[in-house]
Symmetry: none
DNA sequence: TTCTGTTTTCATAATGCCTTCATATTTAAG
DNA sequence: CTTAAATATGAAGGCATTATGAAAACAGAA
């Protein structure tokens, strides 16, 4: 009976850390990168709490918050780059329940989530299945069919990227930008080589399965229905 | 049965003139001042055309337009303060059907509304929320009657182009320019061959339907009234 | 420094999509 | 009905893309 947190944030790096922190604390997370998707989602699903970035590219966070509040009583926590100008609007004026300024520790965010939920009456729940891939971010380890893989740095990061978004197709450029510090430095077939190594290591655990899919002309992705 | 126009505009003075002009011309108008309300409205009501101000306070017009286009085929007319920088984005790139620059005469706007509606078959103005085609851009996949198609790169891109603008006729040249990186390279009957393959794959899902229409001498298009 | 494991590069092989072409079929016009 | 133009289709070769193994370059630790 996990509680569902909707994360509204366009930077995937931030989403990663938030998702990890919340999921290890027993929450279920849903992620959208666009503010416009929020109201349609709320009209269908029961959400227990929303974490809302103010600096979204498509909508302004305050306006979105007000629009949500017109229809839903769901608690909202703001993510903001600067905390100085937000103090007065938190509270009744806008309708946010709390806010966190960037940069923030995921643990702090999770603590605030719990605090807000504690003082809010519960209403929804859902179930999620256990996973074939398990990420331990503290140990920088990934288990595959309960067996821990011995991955190098980039192998770990690439595979983690896939696991976080099963089915999503990542181009070589996307992976480079997301994972490497100096993206433009190397190109050639670096990613391919890492994919090859990851595949080999996965194969030692389960030879008959091929979780990483090649999408010719587009990129790589992780099979969803494992 | 009057046709319904959704006006998305925050300045009430402008709304007044638009509403008056359109209603005297026999249209029914709905007005919202916030872009965030648009998607929820579309999910409930059948709208024949949207007049969308780009300079909304809460959302960016282009982003909203793209979000609408992911789900609905309803025609969109932009309202903009400056017309100079908009030319290139109207059309395929964003998905708008026309635009009007402020200040404008209500009569001109009404004329453009009629022109757009005239070249839009009635069916497509209706909400296509049944969503026979569903695009998942992250996963680079398209579902047809809820069944996921296995498409190659170009097949995916071609079909996506059609779905974005149902009924819109694309010439071979347009498709080449829009989809291929090096458009001038190949011509001959390449597009035809891809169309053939797409049709075959669609046929395996539903043999009795033929969604891709051949417009002799003009190009291909997607059937609207599926 | 030297050693070790990782990352990148490179060359070559393998794969499968894309294009082309030849032929059949359809459509529209005369 | 005949004819020409446009499109549909099947098959096959070419070619772009990816896979792979090995070696070079690199970084970190002892």
């Amino acid at each position: 009976m996990k509680q569902k947190i909707l994360i509204v944030e366009d930077e995937s790096a931030i989403v990663d850390t938030i998702q990890y922190a919340l999921e290890t604390d027993g929450f279920e997370t849903i992620w959208v990168s666009s503010g416009l998707e929020v109201l349609p989602i709320l009209s269908i699903q029961a959400i227990d709490l929303i974490i809302l970035d103010i600096g979204l590219p498509d909508v302004h966070g305050f306006e979105l918050c007000k629009s949500i509040r017109k229809l839903y009583a769901v608690p909202i926590i703001f993510l903001t780059a600067r905390g100085d100008e937000i103090d007065r609007v938190v509270g009744l004026e806008i309708g946010a329940d709390d806010y966190v300024t960037k940069p923030f520790s995921p643990r702090e965010l999770s603590a605030r989530v719990k605090a807000v939920l504690r003082r809010t009456p519960k209403q929804s729940a859902r179930i999620s299945s256990d996973k074939i891939f398990q990420i331990d971010e503290h140990k920088c380890q990934i288990a595959y069919y309960a067996k821990i893989l011995e991955l190098s740095r980039y192998e770990y990061k690439i595979l983690k990227t896939f696991i976080r978004r099963p089915g999503y197709v990542f181009s070589r450029e996307q992976l480079m930008e997301h994972i490497w510090d100096v993206p433009e430095s190397s190109m050639d077939r670096t990613v391919d080589a890492h994919i090859k190594n990851i595949r080999n290591k996965l194969k030692t655990v389960k030879p008959d399965v091929e979780p990483i899919v090649t999408n010719r002309g587009l990129g790589y992705s992780l099979k969803e229905d494992l």
